[in-house]
Amino acid sequence: MSTLEANAGHHHDEGSYFDGPPGMMARIWQWSTTVDHKKIGVMYLVAVLFMFFLGGMAAIGVRYELLDPIRTQTTEFVNAAGDIETVTVTTGESLKELMGGMFGEGVSGSQIYNRVFTLHGAIMVFMFIIPAIPAALGNFLLPIMLGAKDVAFPRLNLLSWYIYVVGCLFGVLSILLGGVDTGWTFYTPYSTTTDADHWRVVLMVMAAFILGFSSILTGLNFVVTVHKLRAPGMGWFDMPLMIWALYATAIIQVLATPVVGITLLLLIFERVMHIGIFDPSLGGDPVLYQHFFWFYSHPVVYVMILPGMGIISEVIAVNARKHIFGYRAIAFSSLGIAGVSFLVWGHHIFTAMGELAAILFSGLTFLVAIPTAIKMFNWVATLYKGSIVINTAMTYGLMFLFTFSIGGLTGLPLATLATDLHLHDSYYVVAHFHYTMMGGTVIAFMAGLHHWWPKMFGKMYSEKGAMLGAALVFIGFNLTFFTQFFLGTQGMPRRYANYVDEFQTLHQISSAGSLILLVGFLVHLFVFVQSLLSGDKAPANPWGGLTLEWETESPPIEHNFHKEPILKHGPYDFETTVPPHWDPKDYPLPENAGKH
C-alpha cells in the first residue's frame, strides 16, 4: 500500500495537534485547558476506555460468581450421642471469598453479587457505551469529516468532558463507599428504600444525572456543528453516513436526556425528602417511574447503536471500495430510527401494563425493526462487486453484521407479546441486548477505533496482533452470550446468584467464554500500547478513504486543514476518484465508471 505520503504535508507551518510545549506540567495544563476537539476526543477515549475496563472487571466478577450457584444447605445428621443435629452451610459465595472485605462486615454473597452486577450495568451504560462512540470518536471525527476547524462551541465541548469526569467521580465514589444494589435501572420503590441509611444510592443516581448533562451538551454541539460548519460544497446528502448517524444520535440526546434527568431528580427527592412520587406507601405509583425511565432509556439504546451503524457504513464502503448501496435509505433510516425510538418505550414494561397499551406498544416496536433490517440489506449489497480487503477494521465490520443480525432477529420474539411474556426479564433478554449493545456497539467501536487509530495517533498497529485479538473477541463473545439464549428460554431469570442445578453447565460455558473475551481485549490493549510506543508512522490515508479526514495529515495539524477544504467528490465515489495522497497507478479505476 504505497501512498503519496512524501508529497503530503511538506509545507509544515504548524505541527500536529499532539505537539505541545516542553515540560510535563505545561503539557498537562495545555491538555486540561484545551478547546481542541481532537484533544477532547482523545481525553474522552482515555476516560471511556478506563470505564470499559472497570465495567469489564465487574462483568468478569459476575461470570465468576455464576460458575457456582450460591446455596444455603442444612445438613441433618445423627451425632455421637444419638441426637439429631443440624448444621447450616452456605456455599458458592465465590465473590465474597475473593473480595468480601471490600464491601464491609456482614454482607452476604447475594448482596455482593447484586452490587457487582449493578456496577457492571451502571458503568457500562452511563459511563462507557453512551459516550464511547459519539463523545470519543465523534468528537475527534465530526468536525474533520465536515471540513471544519472545530465544533461550533469548543468551550462547551471542554465543559462536557469535565461534567463527564465529575459524573464518573460520583459513580466511583459510590463504588468506593460500598456500591449500590439497585440494578442500573434504579426501579422504584426498591431504589427509594434500599440501603436507607446510606448515601451511596443517591451518589450513583447523581452520577447518572450529571452524566446526562454531558450528553446533552455534546448533542447540542453536534447538531449546531452539522447545521452550520459543513465545508463549502457539502450539501446534506454529501455528508458521510457517519455524520448522519451522529446527527440522529445528537437529536435523541438533546430531546430524551432531560426526561431522565428530571426522573432521577424526582427519585432523589423521594429518597431524601420522602415526597411520594413513585413509592405507593407514600402515595406514589411505581410503574410511573418505569414509564419515565424508559421514555429516555429506550431512545438511548439508539444513542448507543446509531453511531456504531455510522462507523460500519464508513468501514465497509472504504474497505470494499464501493459506493454505499442506498445512501439515502441509510441516512433516512437513521432519522427514522431516531423518530420511532421515542414511541416504543412501553415494550420494557409489557408485564406491568394493561392489555391495550401492551398491544399498542408491541405494534410500534415492530416498526423499529424495519429501518434496521433495511440497513443490514444495504451493507451486504454494498459488498457486491467490490474490491474487498480484510483488515482488522473490516473484520470487525463484518463481525458486526454477524452479531448484530443475531441481536436484531432475537428481538422479534421480544416484540411479539405472547413469547415476550415468557422471555421478559430472563437470560434471553440479557443475551439479546448484549448481542445488540456489545455485538453491535462495542464491535462497531472496535471497528472504528482500528479504522481511525492511524489518523488519531499517527501510528500504525500490528495487523496480525489486532486480528488475533478480533478472533478471540469473536469466539469469546459468542460463547459467552449465545449460551444465555438457551438459559433464558429454559427458565433462568435475570439477576440470580442462586439458580437450579440444571443451568450450571450453560453458566460455566458462558463464564469460560467471558475469559476468552477478556484475553481478546487484553491482546488489543497490548497491540495499541505497542503501536503508541513503537508503531510505524501512519500515512495520511492508509486505507484509501475519500472522506475529508483522510485529506489532512496523520495525526491532523492543530487546525485540521491547512486551508479550508472544498468538497470535490462525494464520500463514496470510489469508482471515479483516486483517494487523496494516493498514486493513481496504485489505485486502478474501473473503465466504465460514472454511469451510475
Partner: protein
C-alpha cells in the same frame, strides 16, 4: 390455528430451546410454536445475509490491479422489495403474538381464583376458602441413608392445584415490585404494590409419568411440580424467591383444602407465618441471616432471644419482651440491633393482631426464658432446633 402451530411431540429443536418437559397447556405449546416459527424466519434471513456476505467477501476479494466493478448505487424496486417482505412478516408475528397473549392473560369466567402475595423474599398463595399452604420443599435434597444424613437447601412453599382446571391469578405485592414467573407456562406478570395484576392458565391432565417424591415418607405420588421464580429484581434474596406449583389429582387437592382450613394452635399458627414470611431473614437455630435469629443464644454481638437484652446500634440496650417484638414487626426501624442493617419492611396492615400474637408465642417458645414453658414445650422442640450458640457461618 392453535393446533397447526403447536406440536404435541416436541422435536429436537424445541427440546434444545425449552428443555425436556412438554408444555403443560395449549397456550404454552402455542407460544412455543410461535417462537419456533419466528426462529425459523430468523434463521432464514440470517443464513441469507451471512451467506451473501461470505460469498461476496470471497468472490470480490481484493486483487492487485483489479478495481471494484461499478454497480448501481441504489435500486428502488429492490429496496421496496426488501422493505415490504420483512414488514409483512412482522405484521403476521404481531397478530399471532397478540392472539397468544390473549390466551395467556384472559381466563374463563369460572376459573378458580388463586391470590398471590409477593413480599421480600417469599410468595404466599391464598385459596378461595381462605386457606394457605404450610407445605414447603427445597430446591435440592440429598438423603444419605447409610450415614443418616439429609442435606437440604432452602425451603420454598408448595402451592397445590387440581389437575384439568382453569386457574386465574390475582397478585399483589406488599413492598417492592416482584414478578411471578412459571417458566413451564411460558408466562410471567409483574407483582406490583399498589394494584392487582394477574394471568390465567389451565392445569394439565396428569399422565402416569407425572410423579413427585413425598418429602417425609419418600413415597412416589402422582403429581407434577413446576418451579415459580421471581423475575423482577427485588433485592438481597431475589434469587431465593421461589415456589413450587404442584398439580395433583382433584381428591388430593380437596383433602389438602380440608386439612389446611382447620384452626391451628397459636404456636402452630406462628410457625406457619414464620415459614411464609419471616424465615427468609430470621432463622431459629442461631444462624445469622439478614436479620437476627430468634432462639436464645449468646455470641460476640450480644445476647439473643426472648427475655434477653438487645444491644442496639446507638449503644443502648433494651429488653426483648412482647412489646419489643410487636414494635419490631410494625415499625422495624425503630430499634436496630447492633451489627444489622435496617432492611426489614413494616408488616403494619399485613398481619392481624392475632397473627402478631401467634408469632410472639412462637418466638417465646424458642427461648430458654419462655414464660409459657411447660404448656407447649413439645411444640417448641418440633419447631426450631436447639443449637446452643449462634454460629455465624
Amino acid at each position: 390455528m392453535m393446533q397447526t402451530l403447536a406440536s404435541a411431540q416436541p422435536d429436537i429443536l424445541q427440546k434444545l430451546i425449552f428443555g425436556e418437559t412438554p408444555a403443560p397447556s395449549e397456550a404454552a405449546a402455542w407460544s412455543d410454536g410461535l417462537f419456533l416459527m419466528i426462529t425459523w424466519f430468523s434463521i432464514f434471513f440470517f443464513v441469507l445475509l451471512m451467506g451473501l456476505m461470505v460469498y461476496f467477501t470471497i468472490k470480490y476479494r481484493r486483487r492487485p490491479g483489479v478495481p471494484a466493478q461499478p454497480s448501481p448505487h441504489h435500486n428502488l424496486l429492490l429496496e421496496i422489495f426488501w422493505t415490504v417482505v420483512p414488514s409483512s412478516s412482522l405484521i403476521v408475528m404481531f397478530v399471532l403474538g397478540f392472539q397468544g397473549y390473549t390466551s395467556k392473560v384472559v381466563s374463563p369466567d369460572n376459573a378458580m381464583e388463586l391470590k398471590i402475595q409477593g413480599s421480600k423474599w417469599s410468595w404466599i398463595a391464598t385459596y378461595p376458602n381462605g386457606a394457605t399452604s404450610p407445605e414447603t420443599q427445597a430446591l435440592s435434597r440429598v438423603v444419605d441413608n447409610e450415614n443418616h444424613t439429609v442435606i437440604e437447601g432452602k425451603q420454598y412453599p408448595i402451592f397445590y392445584l387440581p389437575e384439568n382446571t382453569d386457574v386465574k391469578l390475582r397478585m399483589m405485592s406488599t413492598d417492592v415490585i416482584h414478578a411471578f414467573w412459571i417458566p413451564e407456562y411460558r408466562t410471567k406478570m409483574d407483582v406490583i404494590p399498589n394494584r392487582y395484576t394477574g394471568f390465567g392458565f389451565r392445569t394439565p391432565i396428569l399422565t402416569p409419568g407425572d410423579t413427585y417424591v413425598h418429602r417425609e415418607t419418600g413415597e412416589v405420588m402422582p403429581g407434577r411440580d413446576m418451579w415459580v421464580f421471581c423475575a423482577e429484581y427485588c433485592g438481597d434474596d431475589h434469587s431465593r424467591m421461589a415456589a413450587t406449583i404442584r398439580i395433583v389429582p382433584q381428591e388430593v387437592y380437596d383433602q389438602k383444602m380440608a386439612d389446611w382450613s382447620v384452626k391451628l394452635s397459636p404456636i402452630d399458627a406462628g410457625i406457619k407465618i414464620w415459614t411464609q414470611l419471616c424465615k427468609t431473614c430470621h432463622e431459629t437455630d442461631g444462624t445469622r441471616l439478614v436479620g437476627p435469629a430468634w432462639n436464645s443464644f449468646k455470641n460476640a454481638d450480644g445476647e439473643f432471644g426472648f427475655g434477653y437484652d438487645a444491644l442496639l446500634e446507638d449503644g443502648s440496650s433494651v429488653i426483648r419482651d412482647a412489646n419489643y417484638y410487636r414494635e419490631s414487626i410494625l415499625d422495624p426501624n425503630a430499634k436496630i440491633v447492633k451489627g444489622f442493617a435496617p432492611a426489614m419492611p413494616s408488616y403494619q396492615g399485613q398481619l392481624s393482631e392475632e397473627d402478631i400474637d401467634n408469632l410472639i408465642v412462637f418466638i417465646q417458645s424458642l427461648s430458654d426464658r419462655n414464660p409459657n414453658a411447660g404448656q407447649d414445650a413439645g411444640d417448641a422442640e418440633e419447631a426450631g432446633s436447639d443449637t446452643e450458640a449462634g454460629s455465624d457461618s
